[in-house]
Symmetry: C4
Subunit: 273 residues, 4 copies
């Protein structure tokens, strides 16, 4: 078991060097949103941009497209061609605000057609619990980011903290995925059994949309070419540090949007050029 | 009669402790809005988030949903299932921007189905005045937040300040509700006859939407598990202090959105961690 | 002829006193906007709020309502009842973004039904030029705010600066209106022949929407109960000073929205509590 | 070959003098956007405003108009009359977010009807590559702003850096246009063979929408009356400096919207009054 600190983190980052273009920083696609629940995708998309992604696409129901276009004009909405050619994306983030009524065959097709690690959160996880056959389709090395209730929906009721950690190891190993278990001390479990515990973050991050921000961050790092473990570690730590920085002047008045806007300050604080 | 100061206030707050998740800070639902008058719900929802709510849902006409989704992506729009299962919400805030043409049977059904204290403001109050039988359905311990004209619509014309305070006591006692009577010195009247007078706030808060902000704040504290009286006291005081802080650099140029953005500064100023 | 300075201005303001409510600061209605040109009404409405109005209503085509609701949630969109009961408004601001294809009978009905001074700008002025019989319907004491081209459309081609000032005097006297002639030195002409020249403002205010901001400010002061001359003088001066303050750190990069956000700083700088 | 520095730049600017009105700073039209890709036009339009344009119009599909109206209320959406009377515009910027399915006959008509230099970017360039006959219609002195891939689509695969510069000279001379070739050292190539290399900017500008911001800036300077070369030089340099300033506190967390908001700081830093 490892305790993750800012010092550990520095060496995990890829550099942004002078001779680069936006393609070097990854093209990611965030998939989620349903009528009335599209804010989650907006938060995730903005977080991905602030984490350094070169290009961020979003897929939401067409009637809701203005939410993304007005809230984050830098984001492009994926069209049918872009969805068909999924492989053009360096990473996918799937699930925020999806709702439970999503067309399950679309989800299945997505998992079958995309062959790189992807990030699954929220209703993307709940749908895995409701349709267990889907979990076999999740690409190796993917990153799942459940909070405790979502985790229990996947693995059954957990008795205590140690039981939960064991179940996380079992799940990661069995399905060959990374598991980011969100809570007061977020843990990252690897398929090889290693477990990391995050030291950043505070209680003021227990606010609506905070998890969507994390999804966007993990997807961004993954799309920038980080190995899944490093993507998870960097995202979890910066998410927590951004939350600490955002809450310094806001305390319990901190909201998810503030965390996004503090991501750059987290890079600055850790000296990640 | 009591005069409410910042010192009184501190001890009334529940703590935000390290081992918590967003469910600990309440799930609230703001109900209101009609075509052209949905900004009121946006203001109330944002205020609830800034006051510390873990999850904020809103119910507005479907065609107006983008107002909430773009203006506050952290807010989720309630769907029909969520409205049917009203008991999942820790508190409701009812009335901002509702208009007078609302389907009264929906309001009636709401009051019959929800059994915890709720917050009623604006057209939620005007509809009680227009349909007096509804007032008997208001759950015990609810918080009503009329300004002076709305109060007179409920109780009849008031002659002078003392008469108004007496009518407030009578009303609170008779209907077993807390009455927040908004004005230059906002008063909070309890069913047992106690009356509190707020010392925070200033004339620059006499601006469109200021009352909607208060509604969101009361609903937020109530949803966080505060007893109704404490929810009302904390909301009224922080609302006033946030207004003072917002107006320091804006004077008569202060608008409701500024008050919302100053709620965190109010927590900081009072040392409410 | 008078040269308007900050010192002159202070004594013209009404006070915001402790025992007030939003009704004391006026209820104004901004009328304008057509498909693709509704931003003008949003700018004017926000400017009215920042100038101190208690309640700001807007009337724009229904399909465009989200522009106002999202851009300024404090603003309420007027419905048919509110338009019929025009007298409930303390002041109207008419014209920004209206376009030339507006239903002229609506404009005519508006001028016939509203009996207090109102503010006319932009296409509201162009329509007066195109339909000269309408100008006889403009209420006495109204404030017209043309820029030089709009003025020439009303009075015919002007030869030089002094000719323009004479034509302004003639127009004001004949139609019993106040004329705010916008330019590098904005002049305010009274029906009694007095002319005031503004000393605030700079070249960076020559930007799209700057005039809409002024319209909102004049309407706001008028709705707060200022005599038309004082409303015009205060609006013109604060508009210019806000522009100066906004451009200090932005120079030619200043946009109309910046001017709005600097209105409070103008009050602060002049010590208008 | 020339290396462009801040000192060179100062003398290229036109002054903003006291006796001016918004017409003096140009009326520009940004044309682009398709369903889900309208954010590009919003970014370009805002950049044009921040660069000093007096009036900014945009042409996007009508159903997407709210994106512009809410995101930048200072921008006006062009209607059919305004599109017919193209000559009223001092400059056009064509292409951001257009997509490949645009009605090519509209593009052709545009190039035939507009006789002043214009700015072409993104899909405006890709369409020139796909329909080579169109390139003959591009007005002399126009400014094309491809990134390296877009350039290769126009001229064929490039072997190395020097080859690219030679191809740029050939292309500029042949078609009598200015070529802004975007990359780590953006180059500006003139029809007479001169080549300028920009010294401002950094790797943090390799982010979605950064190119759209540049398009808006070039169009703005062109519309203010700058000769095309000066418009390109000023835009490229300020774009880079604004990016540097925006990224000082954001590093890899910098997004295109930040660059826009730092344009005024670039004027301030160079002392461009």
């Amino acid at each position: 078991r490892y305790f993750l600190t800012g010092d550990d983190l520095k060496s995990l980052h890829l550099t942004f060097n002078r001779f680069s273009h936006k393609g070097d920083y990854g093209k990611v696609l965030l998939i989620g949103g349903s009528k009335g629940k599209v804010g989650a995708v907006l938060l995730a998309s903005k977080a991905a941009l602030r984490t350094g992604s070169g290009l961020v696409f979003a897929l939401v129901p067409e009637d809701e497209r203005l939410i993304l276009q007005i809230g984050a004009p830098e984001v492009i909405l994926a069209n049918q061609d872009e969805i068909k050619g999924l492989q053009i994306f360096d990473a996918l983030g799937v699930g925020p605000g999806w709702g439970q009524e999503i067309d399950i065959s679309f989800y299945e097709s997505l998992l079958k057609r995309y062959h790189k690690p992807l990030v699954i959160d929220a209703d993307g996880l709940n749908l895995l619990s409701a349709h267990p056959r889907l979990i076999e389709l999740v690409p190796n090395g993917s990153i799942l980011t459940p909070h405790i209730k979502e985790f229990e929906r996947m693995t059954g009721k957990v008795d205590h903290h140690l039981d939960r950690l064991q179940k996380a190891r079992d799940f990661s190993e069995k399905h060959n995925v990374y598991l980011v278990l969100k809570g007061q001390f977020t843990s990252i479990t690897c398929p090889d059994g290693r477990q990391f515990f995050n030291s950043s973050g505070n209680q003021y991050m227990a606010t609506a949309g905070s998890g969507d921000v994390l999804t966007g961050m993990v997807t961004s790092f993954l799309g920038q070419g980080y190995p899944p473990l490093n993507a998870a570690l960097c995202a979890v730590y910066h998410h927590g540090l951004a939350g600490e920085l955002a809450s310094e002047t806001r305390l319990r008045g901190t909201i998810a949007g503030d965390i996004i806007e503090s991501i750059p300050a987290s890079f600055l604080k850790l000296g990640i050029a």
